[in-house]
Amino acid sequence: MSAATVLFDAPGPRGRRRIALASAAAVLVIVAVIVLVVVQFGRHGQLAGDRWSPFVHTGYLRFLAGGVRGTLIATGVGALLSFPLGVLAALGRLSHNRLVSRLATAYVEVFRSLPLLLLIYAFLLALPRYGLNLPVFWKLVVPLVMVNVAVLAEVVRAGVNAVDRGQSEAGWSIGLTYGQTMRHVVLPQALRIVIPALITGLVSLLKDTTLGYVVSYPELMKTATNLTAFTHLLIQTYLIITVLYVLVNVLLSQLAHHLERRMRTAPRGGGQAAEQLEHETHAATTTAVR
């Protein structure tokens, strides 16, 4: 239920007629746009069977599947490295130690404001001259992690701030230290709150791996480019991989939505519930990483 639903009265007969008319008009416009696109494709011979049939060929599919594998590996390794480091950076930013907190803040603010591609170019073109020449995979993943740590740190920090203050006060009052309170009381709850946001972070991580195109790491985008150089089926190849990207990301987003909904209905407080809660956090983070 949202605010938008009570803002107008249920439409009367005239209102309903108008809505039906508008719906019909909208459908007409949508169909017209689709027809226009198809005609445009057809006029330039892009719908010809022989321009699409190669993609049911197992060789092509296997080639693209290799790209998907590359993308998933880069995303997985990126996530495995940037999730814990992101939590660490968030804790650093929240730390009572002035120096640590300043350093973490500076890191987060700077790397949140740098384009990933610029960093990748730095690793690709500039740093090798200073003796830092990473393997291709790490030229993509290291900048990816550097940027995503900053982004995730902000997400986790928001989660920690969202946990009720009474929770950490309760922790201290039973004699836990700051570190213990963080580790056993606040973080488990905070992480649970931010799980949907972390999965959204995973989506953006996956999208960022397309920059493997620039460093020639064979992820899906680079694979598609290689395939196109060979087949010249540019529009077909890129449309197919775009749909693949969208599919994987939609699945991840749906997972995030699902967890968000389940969280809203989950019970809060109580010893057993807290244990359950920590368990679920754990389960959900491992799902996200996998």
Partner: protein
Amino acid sequence: MNAVTDHLGDIFAGVLTTLELTVLGFVGALVLGIVLAVCRVSPVAPLRVVGSVYVEFFRNIPLLALLILFVFGLPDIGLTYSLFVCAAASLALSGAAFVCESMRSGINSIAFGQAEAARSIGLTFVQSLRFVILPQALRAMVQPIVNTFIGIALGSSLASAVGVAELTYQTQYLNLKYAAAVTFLVAGAIYLLIAFAGAMAGGWLERRVAIRR
């Protein structure tokens, strides 16, 4: 350092292109995002479907894939536009999905009772939006929309991968030609400046639309 001082013109032109792409992309995203948000709350079902399909699709598509499709794909179906136009259009199309989501979640963040209260004192649809919902929702929208702006500014760097001569492109070009890694530091500083300027403007705007309770 000479590579930077001798080629201030190139760097400046790059910054200008980056700013143009960012502003055009952002304005386009804002306009299209508002239209989509209206579609998503309208009583006309097909428009709602268009709105949500659009958002779901363009939020999940990698910007680079969109750029490549626009730059290299459109000529194959007989539509040729300049590189710059393609890049700006891709930024606007993907940004619009994020703007639309920020608006929707901003409106949804308003307590349900506010809308009920507005309706129960007899305000019409437009009045309750204008005087009750939007003034409160705007406040929640500013931060995510500023983030979208920064995202578009940083995303405009991807245009260099398809050959638009903006800041990142000039940087790697100067670096290749003169082996001057310092250009990266300069470019990084400029991007930081753009992002901070955006954040500052956002903070100012947020204070302007804030409601003192």
